[in-house]
Every structure is written in C-alpha cells, then in structure tokens.
Amino acid sequence: MRQFILPDLGEGLEEAEIVTWHVNEGDRVVVDQPLVSLETDKAVVEVPSPWSGRIARLFGGKGDLIKVGAPLVEFAEGAQGDTGTVVGELGQEEKAARAEAPTPAPARSLQVLPAVRALARKLDVDLNLVQASGPGGTITRADVERAAKSLAEAGPAEPLRGMRRAMAQRMAAAHAEVVRTTVNDEADIDDWRKGEDVTIRLVRAIASACQAEPSLNAWYNAEAGERRLIKRIDIGIAVDTEGGLIVPVLRNVGERDASDLRAGLDRLRADAAARSIPPEELRGATITLSNFGMIGGRFANLIVVPPQVAIVGAGRIDQRVLVHNGQPAARRVLPLSLTFDHRVVTGGEAARFLVALKSDLERPS
C-alpha cells in the first residue's frame, strides 16, 4: 500500500476542500491523471496522480477538508493481474476431460428399420424370432408379417427354467468356444454274453481307451492356453430325467471293478431321478459318456463341455449285416461317436482312442 499525501498547494495554504473526485476506488490510473479537484481560497485546483496504479482507498468525500500532509489517496500494491483477455471474462481453470480409448461398437444382432420395428410392436412379434430377408440382413415388413402368422399358429411362449435353462446356457457357451470334430465307428459286440451290462462295459472301455490315449482325458484352459492330462478317470454320465439333462460323475472308473461301478451308477441314477444329487457330484468330469442309444439313434455330433476335451456317444445296439470272417453275416453292433475339441486333441489321438475303445468293447465278455 502506498499513500499519496496531499502536497503543498502553494502560497502557504494549509488545507483544501474536496470539490469532486475524478476517480473511484478500484480504478486503475496512470501518472498525471487528474485524481481530484480541490478548492482553495484562490481557485479550484486539479491534483494529478503521482503514480500509475490501482486506487485502493479515497480519503474523504465532497466537502471534506484535507490538510496538507494528510493522506489523500491510497494505492494498492502492484498492478492489476493479467486478465489474459481483451474482452469479456475467461473462466477459472478447470481440469480438461481426458480422452479415453473409444469403446468398440457391439455387433448388432438385429437390423431393423424404425417403421418395421413399430409394425412388430403392433403385431406383438418378437423380432428375435423373425428371419431377416432384407438387404444387409435387415428385417422387412413381409418378414414380420410372416412371423406373426407362424407365431399365431405356434403354442404359447414358455420360459426355460431350472435344468433346461442351465442346459441352454451351458451348451451355448460350449458351442461358442469348442472346435468340435467327430469321428465315428461301430463295435462288433456279437460275441458278448446275453444280458451284458452295456453301460459298465462302456465306461470300462472308455477307461481303457484313456489309458491307451491319455490326451482325451484332460482339461483345457483356453484363456491360459494350458492343458492338464489327468490320471484319474472320472466319467460324466449323461442322464435323461423328467426335468431335463443331468450329468452326474462316476468317479475313478479306472480303479474300480464292475460291480462297484454298477452300484455307483445305480445310486447316481436313483439320486438323479429323485433330484437329490448334490452339486459336487455334477462337477469334475474328465470325459463324458452319452448313452443316447438307450433311447434311440446311432451316431451323433455331441457337445464337448469345457474344460473337458472329449465326449463319447453310444448309439442303439442293432443287428447289421457285416462282413465277418470274409462272409456276410448278421451281427450285433454298437455305434460309437467320439466328438473331441480339435484345439487340444489331434485327429491321430482321437483315432487311436476310438480304436482302443472299439477294441475293448469287441472283447468277448
């Protein structure tokens, strides 16, 4: 703060009266700029500013007497800060938003134009059920109308629950990930004794094949790109129940005898039917058997459920005409399907496994 003291006005005058201020508090003034008009006996005198600067305070108002030597004006220290502009006011500093990597657009599954969407709403048609025939995979009005007609003839929509829902999710996930390949064959089981326990023969044959070709009894972690070969053979047995598909696990098949396996299997089936299988019993299979042949069908392209790498399908046992010892003969055959994850299992490994499986099954009882 600098104070401007009223200087000697001349002619021995000791004081003067303020007539009018020419500046205001807060003003920036320059050197010699008239600050105030003061009246003495003789005249009205204009007092110029001794410095450039900003006026912080004016001492006295119109009519007040100011003595020579008394403060007249107080100047603020330093000049006004740089406004950084010549018009207007610049705002305060704000942190600028940082740019982030843009999120890629999701793949749109439905291509529908707005008017068609409105039509679908009007006809109460679920666009996910409509088959698109327009350019670029877009759904046309005709597509919607066609779907409306079919849906009118179809039954009511029923949401999937429980085991069905779980299956839908599991199968979808497996399909999205696994590279499925299937190789088929038939085992000539005509030399089996009557009443042979088919399922137990199958699981023991699988265990034997696993020992011959261990790479199909394994787990694959796609994310880590790691495969674990597993010593113990725990076979998932696909069971068809009223509620849907369930796959309890028959443990340590390689080291148990037939009657033990049968007892274990029966218990699993009973629990499945009673819907009392604890969750642990459904986990940890190293390979799966689907004995769909118990119901019907010969060969199938089955679903490999990660982290497993293979699934064996057994079809319906039938009589077929084969060449046996060089002659056509009617023989009982057991159709075999082996679906494997070709990311992890080679064709050779699969073939060898299948050969071992077939070979074990073809041994007489």
Binding site: T20, D32, A79, T83
Partner: protein, 361 residues
C-alpha cells in the same frame, strides 16, 4: 534518363489544423463559432460529461455491474467536436469508442450502459433513429457509410454520413473500398480517422508506413486533413468544413484526428504491458479538457463555481442513469427471437416456445 528528369505528374499536400496550443493560448484566428463562448462552453460540458460517465462506467465494470467497456479517455474532443458539427438528419456510423458522439446526439447514458451491460435494448437509442449502432468488427462500418451516402445522393437529400473509425481500421480493406467508392461517386460522406496511436497493443509505426493517415484519401481521389484531435475547436471546425462541403455536393473528405488513447484498450486490457507509463504521463499534458478550460478561463468565461456546478450536475445525471440501468431487468429469454426477421418464420415457433418455458416442438 535519371529519375529527376522525368516529369512529375502528381503531387499532394496535407494541411494540419489547430487553434489552441497546449496551454490554451490561441495559435491563429479562431473560426467564427468560437467567438460565441456559449458554444465553447457547451463543447466543454459535453467533454466533461463524457469523461465523467466513462470513468463511472469503468467503476461499474470493476464492481461486476457492467461487462467489458471501452473508455475514450483523452479522445473527448474528437467525439464531441465531430458530433457538434452534424445535423440531426445526418447519419453517424460510430466505432465502439465514440460515446461522446452518441451522448451529444441524444443517446441516453442508461442505453449505453445497457449495451455494454449485455442487453440489445441499449441499441434502441434515444438518438436519431437512423444513426448506426456501435460497430465492433473494425472498419466494417465504412462500406455502410458509403451506402448511406449513396442513398442520400440518389434521393437528392442534403444529408451527410459521418463515419468514425480508428487508426487500426485504416489498415483494413473495408476503409479503402469505401473511400474509393465514395471518391468515384463524390458521395456526401465524411470519414474520420481517430488516430489515438494504438490499436490495442500495436502502435502506429507498425500499422502503416504512411506519413499521415489523412493522405490515404488522396489515393481515393479526395482531400484529407490532419487535425489536432485534442483541440475541440479544431475538431469542430474541421468537421463543419467537411460536412458543409459534402452537403453541398463537394464530395467526401477524410479527417485524421491526432490524439492519444490515455486509457487501456478496454477494461480487460492492461496497457502497461506494452507501453511505458512515462509515455502516457507525457501525453496527459496534451489532453483536451484541460486545454479548453485553460482557454475559457483566460477569456474569463469559466471559473471554479461553474466547474463545481458542472461536476455536481454530471454526477447527478450519471447516478440517475446508473440507477435506471441497474433497475432494468433482463429481457425474457424468448425475446431472443424478437426481431430476428420482420416476422418470425413458423419453423422457429417451437424453439421460441422452448425458451418461454413452454413445450418443445
């Protein structure tokens, strides 16, 4: 052939007009109107009011009650001198540093405050309805002035367009194109280049290599005169001469008013960044109000009681205007669409309604 042997085919001359020395003594015989002290006193009052109003406006800006403001400190003789030579039916096209002119011609102080305070109603102006409003894009008012003058000539009206702009404006093509056209058609327009030596921070030496701004008229085919812009008698006389000539069909003239911008460019500018205080201090000695006062006092036509009275009167009028300004509420937002066209196209009804707080289209 050496250059000197080639015939000279054109020469030009520029005269400089001034009547009062820095201390108010008379340099040469004064023009007729100056013998009437009442006329001089009215010029004096006009300048004092302009300055007092300007400084008050600055303090309003500093206390957040006015937006950016352009002060005309030190240039009061230019604005008042020019305006005092105009008739009401003439048209002024100002820049943005000509409040003295606007006030002289009847614009109310609160209207000026409204404009700089951010309200278009400030441009409604109680001055003549045909006067142009402030012009911010520098020099762009010059072609308007030529157009206005052309209308006067076409309709054979004895009216004159007076175009005010600064030294920076004379670097722009707009001023040249307008003067050039005015020269071709001998239009009734007076161009006033208010040479306050500074275009924000750019000094005259960087603005032009021309010895005077006045001589730029020569290339457009008419005369230019340099005037001591801080001598209001000289300003009034020069303006009167030029306007009378234009009105009589004598064509355009350029007046270069030499003065000094004693203030910052605007309230947001800090001139200390680019010019030394000693320079400004020296220029204060030439300022117009003190000069005329010295003359009036020497003629015993002015004294301390009149000074007091004038100061009080200005204060009173300014305070009253400020009060009226501060009491003016902002326009309703929907009025943004008023006067967009003569009749608002229905396309915009929805947006207007949105601003009214009504439904959007």
């Amino acid at each position: 052939m050496a250059d000197e042997e080639l015939p000279v085919i054109a020469r030009f001359e520029v005269r400089r007009r001034s009547y009062l020395a820095l201390d108010g003594t008379v340099l040469r015989p004064l023009p007729g109107f100056a013998s009437d002290t009442n006329v001089l006193i009215s010029l004096y009052r006009g300048m004092v009011l302009t300055r007092a109003f300007d400084l008050k406006a600055v303090s309003l800006q500093r206390t957040g009650r006015l937006g950016t403001y352009a002060v005309s400190l030190g240039q009061e003789a230019v604005s008042v001198g020019i305006a005092s030579a105009m008739r009401e039916e003439d048209v002024v096209l100002p820049s943005y540093r000509d409040n003295g002119t606007l006030l002289w011609r009847g614009t109310k102080m609160e209207e000026i405050l409204l404009f700089w305070g951010g309200d278009e109603r400030g441009n409604l102006s109680s001055g003549p309805a045909h006067d142009f409003p402030y012009c911010i894009p520098v020099a762009s008012q010059a072609p308007h002035a030529a157009g206005v003058a052309y209308a006067f000539k076409l309709r054979k009206e004895p009216r004159v367009a007076v175009c005010l702009f600064g030294d920076g404006a004379t670097s722009k093509g707009d001023v040249w194109e307008a003067m050039n056209f005015a020269g071709v058609h001998k239009l009734p327009v007076v161009f006033v280049a208010n040479n306050n030596q500074w275009a924000i921070s750019v000094p005259l030496q960087l603005q032009t290599a021309s010895q005077t701004l006045a001589q730029k008229a020569i290339a457009a085919g008419f005369s230019g005169e340099q005037v001591d812009g801080n001598d209001v008698i000289a300003m009034r006389a020069a303006a009167e001469d030029a306007i009378v000539q234009a009105r009589a069909g004598g064509g355009p003239r350029l007046i270069e008013a030499v003065t000094y911008r004693l203030s910052d460019h605007t309230t947001a500018d800090d001139a200390a960044r680019y010019r030394p205080p000693e320079e400004v201090q020296a220029r204060w000695k030439e300022e117009p109000i003190a000069r005329l006062r010295a003359y009036l006092v020497s003629q015993k036509a002015w004294g301390k009681s009149q000074e007091e009275e004038l100061a009080a009167d200005c204060q009173k009028r300014i305070e009253a205007a400020i009060e009226r300004y501060l009491a003016t509420a902002p326009r309703a937002p929907a009025t943004m669409f008023d006067h967009l066209y003569a009749e608002l196209p229905r396309t915009y009804a929805g947006q207007r309604a949105e601003l009214s707080g009504g439904s959007d289209a």
